[in-house]
Symmetry: C2
Subunit: 311 residues, 2 copies
């Protein structure tokens, strides 16, 4: 069995009594015709169903507790991504803090005073809340969405499309990363970033620039003590968690990178994964939901596996 880490945990979700944990059914015990479970689909996937994360669009947020890995989305927010990478390269985030943790909402990091000098990067960038839907590949979800006319997955990101308007935008699912802003829509830019740690705050869609998603280490953010000030900001400096560094993965030597690969969302395996989460066939489930929300389909990510050589 491959080490799917968080993927396998997310896939095998059930509310079981702890005493029977070991009794979960395994693939070998199932009748041949039974629809596959998530775990079985992933175990049977081809290595070509997976793609290595591009180190040039991968950000490492380094904390004392570990590394949070963020996959960037330049196809949706090219200027914000370029600016965040420029900020990282000039060391802007190093020595700053996680300054906010609001329960069931977001964790946010940056400069609490907004005064740290910026050199080669920009302090702000124009809004990238949405883009033309032209050229946006989409694996559509057939389920009705409460918020958007059409939803699905585009290059690994939960995406909404309004065909009438010809517009596309990223969706605020759990783990998505965006750029905080003030009331002026163009006041963001990436000096302050946030990650969603609760129920998808879909009312933020098209109101703020999303630029990526956490693919590993999410629990280091979501388990932070909540701030007790307004909006979950920490009230005392000593409550903030220090950011050791933020680095673009490609700037680090190979030996210091975390090689990950993600299930391609344009594959039959991913379509099978959606169906297996829409209607669970693990023995524990009695009533399949028959539907699935776009934010209940986290994209499987695993350590990169080198295909075996053929002899």
């Amino acid at each position: 069995m491959h080490d799917f880490k968080n993927v396998a945990l997310a896939a095998a979700v059930m509310i079981c009594a702890s005493s029977l944990r070991a009794a979960a059914p395994t693939a070998g015990e199932l009748p041949a015709k039974k629809p596959l479970t998530v775990a079985e689909i992933l175990a049977a996937s081809a290595h070509t169903d997976w793609q290595t994360l591009d180190p040039q669009n991968t950000l490492y947020l380094e904390l004392a507790s570990g590394r949070v890995i963020i996959q960037l989305a330049p196809q949706f927010a090219p200027h914000h991504v370029a600016n965040v990478e420029a900020l990282a390269r000039e060391g802007y985030f190093d020595g700053l803090w996680i300054i906010r943790a609001q329960d069931n909402y977001v964790v946010q990091w940056g400069d609490p005073d907004g005064k740290k000098p910026i050199h080669s990067a920009q302090r702000t960038a124009a809004a990238e809340f949405e883009r033309s839907s032209r050229g946006v590949p989409l694996t559509p979800l057939t389920d009705f969405d409460t918020y958007a006319p059409e939803v699905g997955f585009s290059d690994g990101f939960p995406t909404a499309i309004d065909p009438k308007l010809g517009r596309a935008w990223l969706i605020h699912c759990y783990g998505m990363v965006g750029a905080g802003r003030d009331n002026d829509v163009d006041s963001g830019g990436g000096t302050e970033l946030y990650a969603v740690i609760g129920q998808a705050p879909r009312h933020l869609d098209r109101n703020v620039t999303l630029l990526g998603k956490v693919v590993q280490g999410m629990e280091l953010l979501s388990s932070l003590p909540r701030g007790t000030g307004p909006l979950g900001f920490y009230e005392k400096p000593e409550q903030r968690m220090l950011i050791t560094a933020v680095k673009v993965a490609s700037d680090l030597p190979e030996s210091q990178r975390t090689p990950l690969e993600e299930l391609r969302t344009d594959t039959q395996t991913f379509t099978d994964y959606i169906e297996a989460r829409r209607n669970r066939h693990e023995e524990w489930f009695k009533v399949p939901a028959g539907h699935v929300d776009v934010c209940n389909l986290p994209i499987p990510v695993r350590p990169r596996m080198v295909p075996m050589a053929t002899h």
Copy 2:
């Protein structure tokens, strides 16, 4: 301004840059005709819009970090609620632990070995996944729901109804509390309880008995370190958090209770609250969502306020 605590934080949600935190608009600055914001609606509510939580259906989960307060739902799970109260009264939970924290899913507590003796309570109870919709009051949500034919709020709980089947059930929103079970549907009963700490796992609806929701102290559960074993179980006993006690509020003297009141979901104020969250009118928002998910409407809870005497 009343102390709405978490309510006000949840209501005033926005992704603002920290440097402009103090610049949020206040009621006095808004033009007269502008639709009200969540904060304004709550501030203008009548005290009759609120109801005191019934201490006989309120559970206190006592941790070293503080008190988690759970409102029970006997109208949906009478036998589970009665059994959990019986378990609490015989001290079953006292000295047990939080044994599981799975990111973006659930925190679970109980006896890791399932062997602690039970005296007056029962070890299991028959499934209460759903009930007849007859007699279930509902403030319906007009927005389309991905999972259920009809959703809304019933006595403060997010509720789904299937009019064709004449069935009603509670919805797995953030903070909802349920009874873990094994593969046998009747193997639950409340000896192991869980709370939702992530994106609403709606695929669990009608598959497991929900019996209440956390109304205060949710952050004490959601910020726990995630377990690294399968399904987020803690691997070492010392990683578990001790449960000092679980008590029914009415069994404690008044001085030891936490008096709370909840916005009634059958009031015009609550309907206004839904609309204000469906279409945000705070200055920060540029594109109102026009829709709202049943799990993006946490029920406002605040410390009980004694109505002022008229002179």
